[in-house]
Amino acid sequence: MAGTEPSTIGARESRLIGVLMSADVGLLILIVAFFAAFWMFAPGFNSPFNLFGLSRFTAINIVIGLSMMVVIVTGGLDLSVGAMGVTAVMLAGWLMEVGGLPVPFAVAGGVALGAGLGALNGLVIVRTGVHSFIVTLATMSIYFGAMIVVTHAESFRNLPADFSTLAKLRWFGFVSPTLLVAGGAALGLFVLYRFTALGRRMLAAGANPRAAEMSGVPVRRVVTLCHMLGGALAALAGMLLAMRTGAAIPSMAGNLGQDWLLPAFLGPVLGGTALTGGRVSVLGTVLGATLVTVLTSGLLLLQVGEFWVQFFLGALLLGAVLLERARILLLGARRLVA
């Protein structure tokens, strides 16, 4: 079949087209478009109060998305992110309130527990060969259940005041510094996957474990590390959420931590991290999480009738991905013709 020969486009133009066609730019365009639309038509969207809340919520959703992303890279998934996050926060709460530890040590302790639980997930997965879905389904119950047994579902409400300061700070009246924490985590992961040997090994192990094993990658150890990283990030997300509420409460991620599952998947999947593993887009995850947060926030303000918000959220999401698809097709078609 004779195809149309692309005319000679210069190297710079083709790179520009490559960038423009990338999913990340598509997401960015969508975010800007919806943000602008809400700014104009949703009452109160541009109030400093709303923007501040939006920035805090975005930071949390980004980190939740990142924690799932690092596991998706291995070709698996982790249903226990919420459970790990809550358990880590409860430990930190206990360390602060009962143990009297200063805030940074307690937070570090919580993150360490998250990493440990994640590592446990990873170990069970690689040693038994059982699919990560089932393993993390079980550990979701185990971790949450153990937390309930130990804490008897009691919250820690008398945390030291400086635990929440980060969440209460307001820069320029409408931006939360917690975004920096999320951004820092994202940046760290970007460097990991782009520039370090470990990161490349993680991608290789996810893309084709057998081939990776044969070329000397310790696949089992690498997969466990990915899960450990996921657990640590889940704990971090939990800390950000707890700072916002000022207390360590067992219900902060819902029963069994399942409230985190949809946001955890949405960010990476919208952002182009394939569920089959081996490919990752940190920027995409950040943008994906941001898009969903902006959509939810804007919809709540549009007064579409409280019971219809969920419907419009789904419709907008669908519209967003369809637009994205159309954009890629259009750009692709133009390129062939140009």
Binding site: G53, T245, M252
Partner: protein, 342 residues
């Protein structure tokens, strides 16, 4: 969208932003925010409308978070504040987790009353108007023990363990059992069943295993009450005594037909109506009276009981009137009793 409308919107937005959200609008605009979609709060909608009409409020709107999730409720509250609501009646998604959002509202001089559920002290809510869930469970269990003649085995079906109300209810049931002397034993507590399928599965399994052994059932959450009532009717049992909670049609019908002995009613309509009234008064310069007859619960020292009633076969047909009467009596001297006004 033409230029004029866009400019108009831009100008009014600028004005809204320039003038502080809470103080620019002189009329009271109350938002009634439950924890999530749930039939219990349906009465709030009508209560808000009636309050708006009776007290000449700018708005008294029932706004429901799309899911029963703490973060969704927080987001909704923040966005409602950004939209200009200057008074809030909130069922806390979590007694501790909702405190910081309430604090943000208080910082903007927006009064908040905890409704149907309380925040854990210390909080910036003006006070809590609701049912004392622990007390309601206590009374319900005592009624059940009375119906059983003071001895026998009972089971307790309740809601999610991560909901602090559940622990209060479990403690209350245990207390009532202990006070009955040695005659009554609590043979099983099943929690985490405030959802249709787990409730069906576990309540059916329980009745299959212990149906012949148990003498009384107390339920302290909406869905287990409905499911237990349905199941007792299905197996045609009138021997096992049951005390339910709330006013679901299924439960009330079961009370009428003798499968359930009675139910502990709460007063959602009264909560919404009185709460909206109170917010309006608080915005007009009144403050809570320090030496008012506040009640103390496990969660707060500024509690007003919105009324609970035990309804059985004899009174089930007139329960709405009963609750209206309770609401009326609370309203009669509410302002004088609980508020001090300039």
């Amino acid at each position: 969208m033409n230029v004029h409308r866009t400019t108009g919107i831009a100008i009014s937005l600028a004005m809204a932003v320039a003038a502080s959200v809470a103080l620019a609008d002189q009329t009271t605009k109350v938002a009634l925010v439950p924890g999530g979609p749930h039939p219990y709060f349906a009465a709030w909608e009508q209560a808000g409308k009636d309050a708006m009409r009776d007290f000449h409020l700018g708005a008294a709107d029932y706004k429901v978070p799309p899911k029963w999730e703490l973060s969704q409720q927080n987001q909704l509250i923040e966005s409602l504040a950004a939209q200009g609501y200057n008074g809030f009646l909130i069922f806390p998604g979590d007694p501790v987790g909702t405190r910081s959002t309430v604090e943000e509202l208080a910082d903007m001089k927006v009064p908040v009353i905890a409704l149907a559920g309380c925040l854990q002290d210390p909080s910036k809510a003006e006070f809590c108007l609701g049912t004392d869930t622990g007390n309601s469970a206590y009374i319900g269990t005592k009624k059940l023990i009375e119906l059983m003649g003071g001895k026998g085995k009972i089971a307790h079906f309740t809601g999610f363990l991560v909901d602090p109300n559940t622990k209060l209810r479990m403690d209350a049931v245990e207390k009532a059992v202990k006070e009955a002397g040695g005659g009554v034993t609590l043979i099983q507590t099943i929690a985490d069943i405030d959802a249709p399928e787990p409730a069906q599965e576990k309540i059916n399994a329980f009745l299959a295993a212990q149906g012949a052994n148990v003498d009384g059932i107390v339920t302290t959450a909406w869905i287990p009450a409905v499911t237990a009532a349905t199941t007792l009717r299905k197996i045609g049992d009138k021997r096992i005594k049951m005390v339910g909670i709330d006013h679901d049609e299924v439960v009330l019908a079961a009370v009428k037909d003798g499968f359930v002995n009675g139910t502990m009613l709460q007063n959602p309509y009264g909560q919404g109506y009185i709460g909206a009234f109170a917010i309006d008064r608080l915005r007009s310069g009144c403050t809570p009276k320090p030496d008012a007859p506040w009640k103390t619960t496990a969660q707060t020292t500024h509690f007003i009981d919105s009324g609970t009633a035990y309804v059985d076969k004899a009174t089930v047909d007139t329960y709405i009137d009963q609750m209206r009467a309770v609401t009326k009596s609370i309203m009669a001297d509410f302002a004088a009793k609980y508020l001090v006004c300039k």
